[in-house]
Symmetry: C3
Subunit: 190 residues, 3 copies
């Protein structure tokens, strides 16, 4: 059994991590083990191992070509992992210069995912979750900007599907209905 | 004259086949002949000829790599056909694991279409058409899911246009206005 | 310093040129010079130099392969320009046969832009601007068609980001607020 590679994405505040953790916990009980890899942290480990950086701060200072090489190295290493793997990352990242594709072509061609999941919900719910989460400092965005971000992710996902042949699954993580989101994720991961 | 290659897509229930058949019938009268190829059936014929399957049921059991090779073989064979060709297929297919791109990169690079047509209409009209069509058993979807499917198709089509340089034409097949849809399709096919 | 390559796009009537010109003027005062290249005009110059055409009319009559070669030649030439460059073009072009990607893969792979800017505004405002601009003859479109065009551009932009790794920046050029649009563009170009 070669194992499934599933990329899970969602804008900040959508509750992606909670849905992933609960799904993995329950699937373990069903003897369907998944390894959970955070793409950003994994890239940092690769960068350290390769002697490209010493701390997380230096990661941001890498030039574009070094970033790209690092993304490719990390993707190649993940592709080699046996068994079921979740790759926790972003479909796109919002920067001052605009949206950056979280899964550019050179990453997708190495990772060869089976499925990309978009964890989503109503932009107003996301706004409220962000405002009430005191543990993180996040840039303030209005609901419309959050909607734009989620729509960009859907458009990018369609391009990702065209390049890789993977499926694109939308999973709604609505207020009071996280159990529904977990069940849908489990169905997709099983 | 090398002939035009036009891919025609639309979600189940949008009435794609009726619009295609009437357009071909009328264009024949204008001496603009089109050969109509159903991509799924064509793939099955190729699979049989290559000894990959014996019946339609086996098609679904092919593994991912075999599917991909088959899609490529079918696309190469279609690309060699002389004269005008319509390829009747889906911009995306909704599966339990999410949307699957109907025209992944390896299909598009072989087919090299001139145009991809998206036959569309209001999601509520599609819902009603599906509910009143007793001849087919279809999964029940709400209007919102149909809207999501059509939007995914538009996003995928933009990726298809980027890779191939083909044009993307939206044609509305609204209730009581199939004649408008046929005229628009004829204009695009002429 | 290698310089930034920024592609700026927007549907006809959105006021792209005004925002570009004012941004360039003010950035010059800040000693941030930008060269402004219109992709269509640049392609025509290349075509003349290569002996492919003698006047602008002949440009439209070039066959698909010649167009593609010309787009590639122009893109290669622009990629070699030193310093900061704005490439003024369209994210997509609306033709009778449907939307044509303004930045197909073979253009993007040569240009390697840092950022693609989409200058946008409400479709109703664009409609009014088109109707009141007596200096140009434009095809009449309703507001819904303009919205479709802007949405196609966003979907295409997500595919562009996937292929190139560039950022995608939306800038709103709303009525009475061109100064906001100029400031946002300057921030992105700086």
């Amino acid at each position: 059994m070669a194992g499934k590679k599933v990329i899970i994405t969602g804008v900040p505040g959508v509750g992606k991590t909670s849905v992933i953790n609960e799904s993995i916990r329950r699937l373990e009980e069903e003897q369907v083990p998944y390894q959970n890899i955070n793409f950003g942290s994994f890239m940092f480990e690769v960068a350290q191992r390769e002697g490209m950086v010493q701390d997380r701060d230096e990661m941001r200072k890498l030039d574009k070509d070094a970033q790209k090489r690092l993304q490719q190295l990390a993707s190649q290493a993940i592709a080699k992992i046996e068994g079921n793997v979740i790759i926790d990352t972003h479909a796109s990242v919002k920067t001052p210069a605009g949206f950056l594709a979280g899964l550019p072509e050179w990453v997708l061609r190495e990772l060869k995912p089976d499925t990309i999941i978009l964890v989503e919900t109503d932009e107003d719910q996301i706004l409220k979750r962000r405002l009430s989460d005191a543990t993180r400092v996040r840039d303030i965005e209005g609901a419309r900007a959050i909607a734009d971000h989620q729509n960009f992710n859907r458009a990018a996902a369609a391009a990702y599907a065209t390049i890789t042949g993977c499926t694109i699954k939308y999973i709604t993580n609505a207020d009071f209905l996280i159990d529904r989101a977990v069940e849908e994720m489990m169905q997709t991961l099983r």
